[in-house]
């Protein structure tokens, strides 16, 4: 039966909640810490920062990643920056303002207390990163520089050229590697988690596969932290890395962790368009380009002229027209949906007519080519490498692409899932961004969860575990989980059908992008659910995986990930279908204002959907966490 769930938010004023939590949290003495073991899956910003911080405190950490080095986790690809409330620009910023921006950006579908804590902890992160040697942009005076980003009116974004994610991740990775040298972290690269192991209802370990050998291993601990990132790759074409996947969180879901708002996916407005059926991913161009680039399409349908031949009065700068106060800096969901409207209306550009122009001609005329080169040189170079086009001479072609999962495992204020001892941090949880994430808040959330929140809340949990002996990996729960994982892999190999996992993934991605992407409708979603069920049946009967289980086998890795996507995809559609309103990235065609904006329904839908696995992927159970707005009254979001 459906339940109403509680997030364990501390009482008190908004700005006192985290302070009072920390003051009352239980501690573990240094002598006891060395007896306790923690598993952290994922080595992106959230995973690496949590693993390093916990090891520094004295806990024994086992750190897992599927990449060949922890430094390659996909946080590395974030370009634009990281938000933090320092108010160095004296432009009216405050923790409260940052909290409101994030809450409003998320269309009032996030938890007040969590969102406030994100803003509250942001300043410390910049201090920590600078101390680690992250080379943030500097003024000539030597002080830190800021830039502005979509959805806000202050400059609070810190950046390291267009490689902020890389530099922050290297800081966290280096902190992690430092602890491997002390022996407090044992690193397992090229390992993929296959299952979560529960003993007496608590998370006590994982089953993992060594990807170089195919060997299946058991790892026990006193608790498990998932920091496995987002699952936007479910759409196949996305800005994510090829290996990004939902398997860790999905398998945890099947062991009892609730999935929250799984359909809320951020579709990024400025990625490069698909150029053909062979395409494997869409490269993101930093949103910072929208600071100076102007977005437009031809006013006429099917206009085949080259962009420079289209005169000013035959262009539609639709964002500036529709949203005069934010213009090209409208938030991502709005910018993406507007682009789709234009493309669907037959005004898309490029050979597949699937893009819009991002034009720098005006900025170059105003500031000179040198200034634009200084600001975005690396992005222009990257654009040329991929497309062969010089964007100083003709506009870039951009299109929306799946990017960030606002949804993820449901967690309480402690970032603990509904399974005791299972924590989810960073993008793998759902907690801070509501129905739409603001640019440069993703790096922030990953770091804040890993450096500043998890170390307190995990210690609070471990304080009750000091007398618990080491987990016995010969426990029947481990045996059963290993056997199941092994059987599943063997089934994939034994199926000997005619379609590869990648082919299934492409089909699934297309269904989701069309029916559960930028806009959703009741009939489209119902149709998608049907098609996904059929595709899943076909997957089970007709999958082709060459090679063996106990060997290095990329095709087998993909098969496991796509299998999980097939189940998650149906839940995403069911989630979108259950919410008869539009909010942030979730745009239901039936619920829009007269001028086509999202129509939110606070009376009936001010809750987080937390889905429970019932054993049948077609029959998930909906539980609700009511969103109580104690300190802020939700308003209609407007960027006009």
């Amino acid at each position: 039966m459906a339940k109403t769930i509680k997030a364990n938010i501390p009482a008190g004023e908004l700005n006192q909640k985290w302070a009072s939590y920390k003051a009352q949290a239980k501690l573990v003495s240094p002598n006891n810490r060395k007896k306790l073991e923690v598993i952290v899956v994922g080595t992106g910003l959230a995973g690496a920062s949590a693993a390093a911080s916990l090891a520094e405190m004295g806990y024994n950490v086992k750190s897992f990643c599927f990449q060949d080095s922890p430094r390659r986790a996909h946080s590395v690809a974030a370009q634009g920056g990281v938000n933090a409330m320092k108010n160095y620009q004296n432009d009216g910023d405050s923790i409260y303002r940052m909290f409101i921006d994030t809450l409003k950006g998320g269309d009032f579908r996030s938890r007040e207390a969590n969102t406030y804590r994100l803003a509250e902890c942001s300043a410390s992160l910049i201090d920590q990163a600078v101390a680690q040697g992250v080379p943030f942009g500097r003024e000539y005076s030597g002080y830190l520089k800021n830039r502005s980003f979509g959805g806000v009116q202050v400059s609070r974004t810190f950046y390291a050229r267009g490689q902020t994610g890389q530099q922050l991740l290297l800081g966290a990775y280096q902190a992690l590697m430092r602890q491997t040298e002390t022996g407090k972290i044992k690193l397992y690269s090229r390992h993929e988690m296959l299952d979560l192991v529960l003993i007496d209802g608590k998370a006590k370990g994982i089953i993992a596969r060594h990807l170089d050998t195919g060997k299946i291993e058991r790892h026990g601990a006193h608790l498990v932290v998932l920091a496995t990132g987002g699952f936007g790759k479910i759409y196949y074409l996305s800005t994510l890395a090829m290996g990004c996947n939902a398997s860790a969180i999905w398998r945890a879901h099947k062991k009892g962790a609730y999935m929250a708002n799984p359909s809320w996916t951020q579709i990024h407005p400025t990625s490069l368009p698909q150029s053909g059926p062979y395409q494997s991913k869409l490269t993101l161009m930093s949103e910072s380009l929208r600071n100076d680039g102007r977005i437009w399409v031809p006013k006429a349908k099917n206009d085949q002229r080259s962009p420079n031949q289209i005169p000013e009065n035959e262009r539609d700068y639709y964002l500036e027209r529709k949203y005069p106060s934010f213009g090209n800096l409208a938030p991502r969901d709005i910018a993406s949906r507007s682009a789709k409207e234009q493309i669907d209306a037959g005004k898309g550009v490029g050979t597949l007519q699937n893009a819009v122009y991002l034009d720098f001609a005006h900025a170059i005329a105003e500031y000179g080519k040198d200034v634009i080169e200084q600001r975005y040189g690396n992005l222009f170079t990257m654009y040329q490498k991929i497309t062969g086009i010089n964007a100083y001479e003709e506009p870039m072609k951009i299109s929306p692409s799946a990017h960030f999962s606002m949804g993820g495992l449901w967690v309480d204020y402690d970032l603990m899932t509904t399974i005791p001892g299972l924590f989810a941090i960073g993008e793998s949880n759902f907690s801070d961004h509501g129905a739409n994430r603001l640019g440069a808040n993703s790096l922030l959330q990953a770091c804040v969860d890993g450096y500043y929140i998890a170390p307190y809340t995990i210690q609070n949990y471990l304080a009750d575990e000091i007398n618990t002996p080491k987990t016995n990996i010969n426990h029947p729960a481990f045996e059963e989980a290993e056997l199941n994982a092994r059987q599943q892999l063997q089934q994939f190999v034994n199926c000997k059908g005619s379609k590869t996992a990648e082919e299934f993934h492409k089909e699934l991605g297309k269904i989701l992008y069309d029916k559960c992407g930028l806009s959703r409708s009741e009939s489209g979603l119902k149709q998608a659910i049907n098609t996904i069920q059929q595709l899943r049946d076909e997957f089970n009967e007709n999958l082709l995986v060459p090679g063996d289980v106990e060997d290095i086998n990329s095709e087998l890795e993909k098969a496991g990930r796509v299998y999980d996507y097939m189940e998650l995809a149906e839940l995403m559609c069911k989630d979108a279908l259950s919410r008869d309103e539009s909010c942030g990235a979730h745009f239901r065609e039936e619920y829009q204002t007269e001028d086509g904006e999202a129509l939110r329904n606070d009376q009936d839908y001010a809750y987080t959907s937390a889905w429970e696995w019932t054993g049948n992927p077609s029959e998930p159970l909906l539980n609700k966490e009511e969103l109580v707005f104690e300190f802020v009254k939700p308003i209609q979001r407007s960027y006009k």
Binding site: D127, Q128, A131, A160, Q167, M242, Y278, S280, G388
Partner: protein, 245 residues
């Protein structure tokens, strides 16, 4: 486009590898190099053969996981470009392309084109960090870093750890990789304090792994997708000598 491929296939670390020939008829110039390999792998899988194992992840030139020797050049013919950012428009219809793994004693082949670069992690673990625990940091603007210091540190910090420098070097030296991290941290006031200790530890670790010595051919800089300068190696030598004097 029609493309002929000569690809290194090797079953395991200790087995003997060999070049195997393949041909593809429907290569589009807009395809990335790795998408061309995806196409070949799909063909192989459909025929019931084992696809070619190769490393890749972000496919946007920043994670450093991809890396192939393409016609004998690390990451292929384009300057300052990772394998994943290389596109087939850089080749002609009818071309023959040789594809091999990054070969070095310190990078053993795992299978086909996949190699083990964990030796790089071991070098970083020896000292490639600032020893600051979470929570110890002072207010960020309390220590000034000039614009030029930050930019110069960034140039060194931009290394993606792909290993092209090692694969290209006739001695399989890791000098460019190691020196980039030493320089990045030595150039910043936050990292300067422990520079001597760091340099000695990292250089010693590099020597103990199976990398060769640097003989200043500067080939590494030419092949580096991130344009990491060999001046970093000079800086490493300077820091090392300073520590040893």
């Amino acid at each position: 486009m029609k493309i002929h491929l000569n690809v290194w296939r090797q079953k395991h670390k200790d087995s003997k590898g060999a070049i195997v020939k393949y041909s593809l008829n429907e290569v589009a110039p807009e395809m990335s190099f790795l998408e061309m390999l995806d196409m070949l792998n799909l063909k192989l899988a459909k025929k019931g053969e084992r696809p070619i194992e190769f490393d890749h992840d972000c496919r946007e030139g920043i994670c450093g996981q991809c890396g192939l020797m393409i016609n004998g050049i690390a990451h292929g013919p384009l300057k300052n470009t990772t394998t994943c950012q290389l596109h087939m428009r850089s080749f002609k219809d009818g071309d023959t392309i040789y594809i091999e793994p990054f070969k070095a004693k310190a990078f053993p082949v795992i299978r086909d084109l996949k190699v083990d670069r964990s030796a790089f992690d071991a070098i970083i673990a020896a000292g490639g960090y600032v020893s600051v625990n979470t929570g110890q940091a002072p207010e960020a603007n309390s220590v000034m870093v000039t614009h030029d210091e930050a930019e110069s540190a960034f140039d060194s910090a931009a290394c993606i750890g792909c290993g092209a420098c090692v694969a290209t070097c006739k001695n399989a030296s890791a000098a460019l990789f190691t020196s980039a991290k030493i320089s990045h941290l030595a150039k910043l006031p936050q990292g300067k304090k422990e520079s001597e200790q760091r340099t000695v530890n990292m250089v010693n670790r590099m020597e103990n792994l199976e990398f060769g010595h640097c003989t200043n051919t500067e080939a590494c800089e030419v092949e580096c997708p991130q344009e990491i300068s060999v001046l970093n190696i000079a800086r490493m030598n300077f820091e090392y000598n300073k520590a040893k004097l």
